[in-house]
Amino acid sequence: MDAATQKPENVASAPVAVAPAIHIAPAPHLFGGVLTTRRMMVDVLLALVPVLVASLWMFRLYTVLQLAICMVSALVAETVFTKMRGRRPTLGDGSAVVTGAILAFSLPATAPWYVGFIGAFVAIGLGKIVFGGLGQNIFNPAMVGRAFVLIAFPVAMGASAYVAPTAGLDGLTQATPLTALKMLGQSTGLLPLFLGTTNGSLGETSALACLIGGLYLCARRTASWEIPAAAILAVAAISGLLGVLGPRTGWTLFHDLSGGAFLFGAFYIATDPVSSPLTPKGKWMFGAGFGALVMLIRRMSGYPEGVMFAVLIMNALVPLINRWAIPTPVGGPVPVKKTA
């Protein structure tokens, strides 16, 4: 072979033809590939299965109806709004379905149809699309939707909404544990709180179901374990302290942990990657702040439960937390070059 044979026109006749389509791309050439955005969303849906089972057991058809309304509305909203922006529809990534499901699980069983419908449209439209779509939103979309309908329809969403005397299920005729505590000073037993045989939003009643699904999410690393861990520690610490300072009859820190939407929020909502901090340190701060705010709102405000507002407030703080929690690289910060 001489130099001439290295010219490209002879390449085709070479014994090893470059018949395979060789293409180039930047390194790395291998891709972990196990976890895609879509797969993360599927994980969340899988993790919601225990919650769904608990909810079906407790609220029967109300669950199915509410989930159907919210998920379908979320998908329709996603299609409509992405089309308005002239983008490709992004239904395939599953984020709209997840938003719809989380919203549905955070609503009262008997909330009328338009609550879920409008909530889903606001969640997708105002919660996500106006910020630039998936990955750009500041706030958890489902919680934006829920906050909107809570303020828009206080009767259908407030404490009174959970007590539905006309409902066909026994559970629905009692006040939620936190409302009962706040308004009547009545404490609910730990076992019903843990198993979820109490009234409340569709997904929040069973602490057990939230724990099972949440641990699955953390094990899959779809959710960062730091956030729920920090949140649980914060709530336990504050509730324990308050319990020591001024005990409430029959209400312990375990009640605070398993009552209300706390576990549901800590595992499924606060861990939303888009609206939570990036670094482990930031996640600890975020989780602890979330837990502290939940306790603050529960004890000091007019609302019996504070998960939604706690999530939204902490979401707003995320850019700040990200700034505080910039990690120092191994070997220390980049030395500042002295300008010549």
């Binding site: 329809f153 206080p154 009767v155 407030g158 404490a159 009174s160 909404a161 007590v163 308004m183 009547l184 007019g302």
Partner: protein, 184 residues
């Protein structure tokens, strides 16, 4: 002259004088009407709060503002008491109608409130205010979560326990104080 303060500011001075005069004129012309509007806002409620009353006049009782409710012949038929206190969101201002002996409530009117719309602001509804009609002023009223079984029980607004309790509390406090006070 050109650089003196007056030279610079004469326009401001002249305009101030003109505007001042104009405002004085407007104020003098309209003030009685505005005062009347304000009074009418309260007095106009009196016939609704005290049965048989046709009008009323301001009567301070201690540091409380009250109105004597009169029938057409000028006979006193009751009292209207202005009361205020903290609600769930902000101050609630009430007018409480009572009979001449201040023994029975004859009506309730919410002058001003900023309670949660859809929940707490239901205290302005007739449905809620009417619950106070005919209640004795002693013993004090209490809020319940069910249909009232005793004269002193007022059924609260679902989902607005604090607003309901605030109104009842304001009524109780104001009425108790009014009953104690010597009346002219």
């Amino acid at each position: 002259m050109k650089n003196s303060y007056i030279g610079q500011a004469w326009l401001v001075v002249v305009l101030s004088l003109c505007f001042g005069a104009a405002l004085a004129a407007v104020q003098t012309t309209l003030q009685p009407r505005i005062e009347q509007n304000k009074l009418a806002d309260t007095i106009g409620q009196i016939p609704k709060l005290v049965p048989g009353a046709a009008g009323g006049e301001l009567q301070r009782v201690g540091d409380q503002v009250a109105y004597r409710a009169m029938d057409a012949s000028g006979q006193q038929v009751g009292w209207v008491l202005a009361a205020a206190g903290q609600g769930f969101a902000d101050r609630i201002e009430l007018l409480i109608g009572m009979d001449a002996a201040a023994a029975r409530i004859t009506g309730l009117y919410v002058l001003d409130q900023k309670e949660t719309p859809g929940l707490g602001n239901k205290i302005v509804d007739d449905a809620f205010c009417a619950k106070f009609q005919g209640r004795a002023t002693e013993p004090v009223l209490v809020v319940t979560k069910h249909a009232p079984q005793a004269d002193r029980e007022i059924e609260g607004i679902t989902g607005a326990t604090i607003s309901s309790e605030s109104v009842v509390g304001i009524v109780n406090a104001a009425v108790a104080k009014f009953r104690e006070a010597p009346k002219p």
